[in-house]
Symmetry: C2
Subunit: 337 residues, 2 copies
């Protein structure tokens, strides 16, 4: 299958002696690249959201460790700084643990670079594999709806949920893609639409609140989303708005798919109830594109994530396989340590 | 009850020889007023959304008829132009039919002005009455969520759904108000927050897609919305996103209230299936605050309204009374001609 045709974007690129990062804050208006030559540059890029998406953050951090090794930066400090750059990202911890283990085993700069490259290559391969696994669930001629950005920009390439969509398009299963804006950061409007238009995939942007009406028209058969953390019972934390989509999907008989690498699964978290929801600055709702749109003196409630209970999920797709109608038992069988 | 304390805004004001309109396009950044001296000025204000909200549009149009009468404009032309300014607004047709009947009965300029004033006064009185009817359904200490703007700006004053909220706050029943942004026009962010902050009502803005997560926290007991059209079986067309809120409310056991003047009820429309949903320019999703945020070449799907089925509605409140768990039979009993 010719997946390359729908997979042109590489946002995290190692260039032999530095890390070349597509600055996602400036997309789609400008394609600007950052060159990180120190681990501290990578910390800053993660912290300021120049690089975003759980797998992409992990990969960038792994290269940050390589930069620390090359420049002789104290490795404990570098690891701690990278870990603190985005404290809730499970993939970040996973990638850093892997690099730390290689360093502890005495890896030199070349061996650290090989490990970072392996993390990156494995992520791309996992995404291609998840794409095939997820696409196999989708009937020919389907419409799908996605949320936030889970594509090449958020990963080593191809994407997780958006990888399933790329594979489904390549296989002729998906006839139309809809993308929610994903307020307040507009990752769907800014980033997913950028990817889909660049890769020539027919896509329509919708307001997040138009999703239920879209489902009612019969235009979508699957909602396909990524995950920030998947608990041991299948409950899934993801971008705010995911839960609302899952409820609307259940109401309309639309299927709901979560796509994420197995490093997103956190078997130490029993259920979604144990996942703390990060709250962010109300200012994100008060100003749009740098312009204040809400009256002075207003307050806001601005959670970043929500939790979709496993009962609303039809399939969890990881590179290890598909879990349909996830339960704690099925998750335990698939992901026990 | 001291409702005046929470009701300071009057966006449509007759000033003896002209109509003084608060330009809602420029809120909350600027409080600019338009002076309409010809019916054509009112047509333009309605068409360009300087005045919005079904009841406010109807009232402004009634004053447009008065201006036509005063200036000797051909009345058939004026009525047709006003009617065409916002073709889907039921209240607009209703107000113009009322003015047309007075004109046809030989009303002079003063009598036409008296009729327009009556329409405006009756709307305010109806809103105060609906406020009391709706608030009586709300238990003390409740949190409520509203959508779009249904307040003083959208009516002669006090508002419909926001009138229930004002009454509920005044009566001490409502402890916290949440308002959805209401993409893409941001009426909730721009207008509802403006009203609530100006009237000293504790309110928090949320992203539209955060509503289900908010409900899960137990913070809201009622969703309270307005209506653009209510069909004969209780199905309700309202701002895009309303349907999604109703589904999420049902899922969480949160109650759902529709508040609108009886002029919004269209007994000639059997059900929501017969209501055509207006689609608007994709450009509304591509640019925010005048700045392009979506990649060139993107497409969008941008419906303005959706239909909430009566089965998801716990109460329809009009000035004629409350219909709980609306059915075609109950609607027929309340609104038969």
């Amino acid at each position: 299958m010719d997946y390359d045709r729908y997979d042109h974007i590489r946002a995290v690129q190692w260039r032999g002696d530095h890390l070349h990062l597509l600055d996602q804050r400036r997309l789609p208006q400008e394609e600007c690249w950052l060159d990180c030559r120190q681990a501290a540059d990578v910390v800053q890029a993660i912290r300021e959201l120049a690089v975003r998406g759980a797998p992409a953050i992990g990969i960038a951090a792994a290269w940050g460790v390589v930069l620390a090794g090359r420049s002789g930066t104290d490795m404990d400090t570098a690891l701690a700084d990278l870990r603190a750059a985005r404290p809730t990202a499970v993939n970040l911890m996973w990638a850093l643990d892997r690099m730390r283990a290689r360093h502890a085993a005495g890896a030199d700069a070349a061996a650290l670079a090989a490990e970072a490259q392996a993390i990156q290559d494995e992520d791309l391969a996992a995404n291609r594999h998840m794409g095939e696994l997820g696409a196999a669930l989708i009937a020919s001629g389907s419409g799908v709806l996605t949320h936030c950005n889970t594509g090449s920009l958020a990963t080593a390439g191809f994407g997780t949920a958006l990888g399933v969509i790329r594979a489904g398009v390549a296989q002729g299963r998906i006839a139309q893609v809809y993308a929610g804006e994903t307020r307040p950061w507009q990752q769907g409007a800014r980033l997913t639409m950028y990817e889909l238009v660049r890769d020539g995939i027919a896509a329509r942007l919708i307001a997040d609140s138009a999703a239920a009406h879209l489902m009612k028209t019969g235009a979508v058969q699957w909602v396909i989303v990524g995950a920030d953390r998947i608990a041991a019972n299948g409950d899934t934390a993801n971008k705010i708005g995911t839960y609302q989509l899952a409820i609307a999907a259940k109401y309309h008989g639309v299927k709901f798919m979560v796509v994420a690498p197995s490093s997103t699964v956190d078997m130490a978290t029993a259920s979604g109830d144990a996942i703390a929801i990060e709250m962010r600055d109300p200012e994100e709702l008060f100003s749009i594109a740098g312009k204040r749109v809400v009256v002075a003196g207003a307050q806001a409630w601005n959670p970043v994530f929500d939790v979709t209970p496993a009962a609303l999920i039809d399939a969890i797709v990881t590179e290890r396989g598909v879990i349909e109608r996830p339960t704690a038992q099925a998750m335990q069988a698939a992901f026990r340590a």
